[in-house]
């Protein structure tokens, strides 16, 4: 009997191994963006869609001569590279770019408040360009935004992320191995006041042209909150979907038990956002693109564990979430044997199965909760279905009736989901529509399930 059981376990492990290898390109979930050393960005006007069904007139940056996007293209470069950003302008106002934390030389255009600016576009006049050059001296998470009338132009959308990867260590956020990650996700958080956008659109799209005095930023009252330029639940839709042409980036973290997940927070707006990761704490390892460490230390010895991190306007935070395994939950996250026959073979000296990452001391322990009857649960009329039918990893079950007009079953792989969102709960709305705003659902999927 013992022999048979061990063979069975081996077979299960082999199967899991095969699943891990099977996807042709397992694909490290990584940050979407433009790579290279030279980027041409064009400031243009366009509209975006928000989860309440509204659309908002925006100013944004497009890659090359392409359509503008919100936020601007995420620029992904490598430590030590000399970076050139060429800015062109089709907007009726002057624009510029600043790269906080970088020593930038700018040429062309005219001198502005913070850097050199591209003058406002004028019909029939060839557009000028400003060239910004800097060396990406340090790896880390950074941002860029307009340095011209920044109170107005950042509100209008001229903001983006800059990621500098350490040379030779693409799977680390910094040069220290303590910053290694299995998967990474960008959270560029912003907010907007749709009334200001309406006021400016009425002015700028009229025959008289833009009257900047028609908007008073001291009266700004944001009611829309974004992650990577989208409101919930659009945050979790695929990237580059046709129905969000100016909001290409999503924010849908998916990972396996045991993965080290890097969160790159960029606060792009003008307000503070306390961001909360359900599930477990995150370890804050860096701020403003610098590891938190004492002088002389290579490792982030000043890293702090938190469940809510304040995103300060203009600043960035890198944090490691996980590895999540369900350790010490007191129940088997893969379900009991009657529901999901499986084994847990802890590695020597460890409590974890090296393949499934299951916490073996809790193996086969039932969920200590009596689940409600199927007839007593429902999906909300607005929202996204993250309930997979059971609380167990990799085990799907019957789900409540779904109103296809307002909800979507998003969890067909039996994942466990945690909401990662602004802890300022009013920011979980899109212009007063709940649920929306600055939220995503992080989905833990069983080992063996491919992650796009």
């Amino acid at each position: 009997m013992i022999q048979t059981t061990q063979q069975g376990r081996r077979l299960f492990i082999l199967l899991l191994g095969a699943l891990l290898v099977l996807p042709a390109a397992p694909g490290r979930a990584t940050v979407l963006g433009a790579t290279g050393r030279t980027f041409t960005l064009t400031a243009r006007a366009d509209t975006i869609s928000t989860g309440d069904g509204d659309s908002m007139w925006m100013w944004g940056l497009g890659l090359g001569g392409g359509r503008m996007q919100y936020p601007g293209p995420t620029l992904i470069v490598t430590e030590g590279d000399s970076i050139t950003v060429i800015l062109r302008n089709q907007l009726p106002v002057p624009v510029s770019l600043v790269f906080p934390g970088h020593s930038v030389t700018a040429s062309g255009g005219t001198q502005g408040m913070l850097t050199r600016e591209v003058p406002a576009a004028r019909p029939g006049v060839p557009g000028q360009a400003v060239v910004y050059r800097f060396t990406a001296t340090h790896p880390g998470t950074f941002s860029y935004h307009s340095g011209t009338l920044p109170d107005l132009e950042v509100e209008m959308g001229l903001v983006g992320a800059l990621i500098v990867r350490p040379r030779g260590s693409p799977n680390q956020a910094y040069n220290d191995p303590a910053s290694a990650f299995d998967r990474e996700f960008l959270y560029l958080v912003t907010e907007a006041d749709p009334v200001l956008h309406q006021q400016l659109a009425f002015s700028c799209l009229s025959a008289a042209g833009c009257d900047l005095a028609s908007v008073d930023l001291t009266r700004r009252h944001p009611t829309d909150w974004f992650v990577n330029g989208r409101t919930f639940p659009d945050t979790m839709m695929d990237p580059f979907v046709a129905y969000l042409p100016t909001q290409p980036y999503n924010c849908a973290p998916m990972f396996h038990p045991g993965d080290r997940v890097l969160i790159r927070w960029v606060a792009g707006g003008a307000d503070l956002h306390p961001f909360h990761t359900h599930g477990q704490n995150h370890l804050v390892i860096a701020r403003d693109g610098r590891l938190l460490r004492t002088p002389g230390s290579a490792a982030p010895d000043l890293a702090v564990s938190d469940y809510t991190t304040t995103n300060v306007p203009g600043e960035t935070v890198d944090a490691l979430w996980g590895p999540w395994t369900g350790e010490r939950l007191g129940w088997d996250v893969y379900g009991t044997q009657d529901i999901n026959p499986h084994t847990c073979n802890a590695a020597p000296g460890s409590n974890f199965d090296p393949v499934s990452r299951e916490y073996c001391p809790d193996h086969d322990k039932p969920l200590p909760v009596t689940l409600p009857s199927q007839s007593d649960v429902t999906y909300g009329v607005v929202g996204v279905g993250m309930w997979g039918g059971t609380p167990y990893l990799g085990v799907s079950g019957d789900v409540p009736p779904i109103n296809p007009a307002s909800s979507t079953q998003m969890n067909v792989v039996g994942g466990i989901s945690f909401m990662w969102h602004s802890h300022a709960e009013r920011e979980l709305t899109t212009n007063n529509i709940f649920i929306g705003g600055m939220a995503t659902m992080a989905l833990i999927v069983p080992v063996g399930t491919a992650i796009p």
Binding site: V104, L152, L272, T294, L302, V312
Partner: protein
């Protein structure tokens, strides 16, 4: 005078002066100020004990502030109408005369461990006035809160609330100075902590902070080349950036007498019962909103260590950002960032950031080492960058970094100015911050200043003193007044080629 001139690198131990002024209100000349009163026994510990070389004399600093109402003129920063302010004016000893009130109030510089006494007269005038006081968050003091009955508005107690009284509420954190233009209330702090602090009214702060009753307090360690008593906080130059805001609605209501929790019936148009609807329209650094021709702030030299003291006297979060370089954020609320290592040693733990969260009421200190000469923009990343919506404006300044390489002068004075409140002894220390030994070849008192009287002063030690690298020597100067307000110079001659002569200005106060 420049509205933003920084303190000298070797800050005088007892210098009290105006760092910052608002709008078009002129600052007084700090050199003309009498910073200290004639000593009284309880205020003159400096003279009471004969100090040893190991225990430097700790000064008592006395400051005279008068709260006054004044109007910022229209169009000072695109404001269409004058704006009523309440500010502190710095006065001469015993309030014999006062300068102009300013917002922020005069910056006060004192020495760690010393005693600060602020004497206050409340000269607020207008249809609506209030009692005022002074508190310093982060500095210990004996507080005497003032309690009132929220129904009748009358004061019920000062100090502890009487037993059994569960309804009285605090309206002032400490003793009030009534708005009679005459009563002097003295507020004292002993054993001052080093660092950057706000002093502010502790009475009805919801109104009085907005109206402008605040200023900066800078407390220097005994070695005034440090921000805190830790070598990692050494600096060569410093600049103070005090952030504040104005919502003119409250100011207009105060000026028109339309403020109060219990309005007449029916309430007149424009009456405010609280400050809850706070929407600042004007944004200031050191009392100035940005304008294109604004002068830059001198900020030391390329490669030097610039100490930036950020203070937020406004009611909103601010995020000062420097464009380009990083700062080493070293302290918050007057406490340096330190950590205890696994071996038990306490280490500095500065944070490398290009911006810093500056919540309302907080102070943050940072060291910036500019790599190049030029102007570094500092602005609010929460974008308080307009004047009532008109851009550019608001919270933006430029730090002007000079191109000269930092000098390598190893000999440094603990102070360049000694002020004597009374007959007695004061100490001055010469420190050799270099590696090689230097010799102080002589110490001599000569005539100088406004009323040259070298005979009024003498120095304890005139013999040559050899200073090994890292060591220091303390000299005691005694003062025995012979004439009114005598002045002199204490000259140290040295064998250091870069600083052959170090001079301390001596000022005695005698009426």
């Amino acid at each position: 005078m420049s509205l933003n001139h920084r303190l000298s690198r070797f800050h005088s131990r007892t210098w009290v002066g105006c760092l910052t002024c608002l709008g078009l209100v002129a600052c007084g000349n700090p050199e003309s100020r009498a910073p200290a009163a004639a000593g009284t026994p309880e205020r003159g510990p400096a003279a009471a004990a004969a100090p040893s070389l190991d225990a430097p004399v700790l000064p008592t600093v006395e400051v005279y502030l008068r709260a006054e109402a004044f109007d910022l003129p229209a169009m000072a920063f695109n404001n269409p109408a004058p704006i009523r302010m309440w500010g502190f004016a710095e006065c001469k000893e015993a309030f014999t005369s006062c300068g102009q009130p300013t917002v922020p109030g005069p910056a006060l510089g004192v020495e760690e461990g010393g005693t600060l006494t602020i004497h206050v007269i409340n000269g607020l005038a207008g249809p609506y006035v209030e009692p005022v006081s002074v508190v310093i968050p982060g500095q210990a003091a004996t507080m005497n809160p003032v309690w009132f009955d929220p129904v009748t508005g009358s004061v019920t107690a000062t100090g502890a609330r009487p037993a059994g009284d569960y309804t009285s509420r605090v309206r002032s954190f400490t003793a009030e100075t009534p708005p009679d233009g005459a009563t002097v209330t003295s507020y004292s702090w002993t054993g001052l902590r080093a660092g950057t602090y706000l002093y502010q009214s502790g009475s009805h702060p919801a109104v009085q902070m907005q109206m402008g009753l605040f200023g900066a307090l800078l407390v220097y360690p005994v070695n005034s080349a440090l921000a805190y008593p830790d070598p990692s906080t050494a600096f060569d130059a410093e600049v103070t950036l005090l952030f504040s805001e104005i919502d003119p609605v409250l100011h207009d209501a105060i000026a028109a007498g339309l403020y109060g929790s219990q309005p007449p019936s029916p309430p007149p148009a424009g009456w405010l019962t609280s400050t809850i609807e706070y929407r600042p329209q004007y944004f200031f650094i050191n009392g100035q909103s940005f304008r294109p021709a604004m002068p830059v702030l001198p900020a030391g030299v390329r490669g030097g260590r610039l100490l930036i003291r950020f203070l937020n006297a406004g009611l909103s979060n601010r995020v000062p950002a420097v464009q380009g370089p990083y700062m080493s954020v070293i302290a918050e609320d007057g406490h340096p960032y330190m950590v205890t290592s696994s071996t038990g040693s306490v280490l500095p733990a500065p944070r490398e950031q290009y911006s810093v969260l500056l919540p309302a009421g907080k102070t943050v200190d940072a060291i910036l080492v500019p790599a190049a000469a030029g102007d570094i923009p500092v602005y609010d990343r929460r974008f308080g960058l307009s004047n009532a919506g008109t851009s550019p404006g608001g919270m933006l300044v430029y730090l002007a970094v000079a191109g000269t390489a930092p000098s390598q002068q190893p000999l440094r004075l603990s102070t360049t100015r000694l002020v004597f409140n009374t007959a007695g002894l004061r100490a001055v220390t010469v420190r050799n911050t270099g590696i090689s030994a230097r010799v102080i070849t002589g110490a001599e008192i000569v005539g100088g200043g406004a009323n040259p009287a070298p005979d009024a002063f003498s120095v304890s030690n005139t013999a040559p003193v050899t200073l090994a690298g890292g060591s220091s020597a303390t000299f005691l100067v005694s003062f025995n007044p012979t004439t009114t307000n005598p002045t002199a110079l204490l000259n140290f001659s040295t064998n250091d080629p870069l600083t052959p002569l170090l001079t301390v200005r001596l000022v005695g106060i005698r009426r």
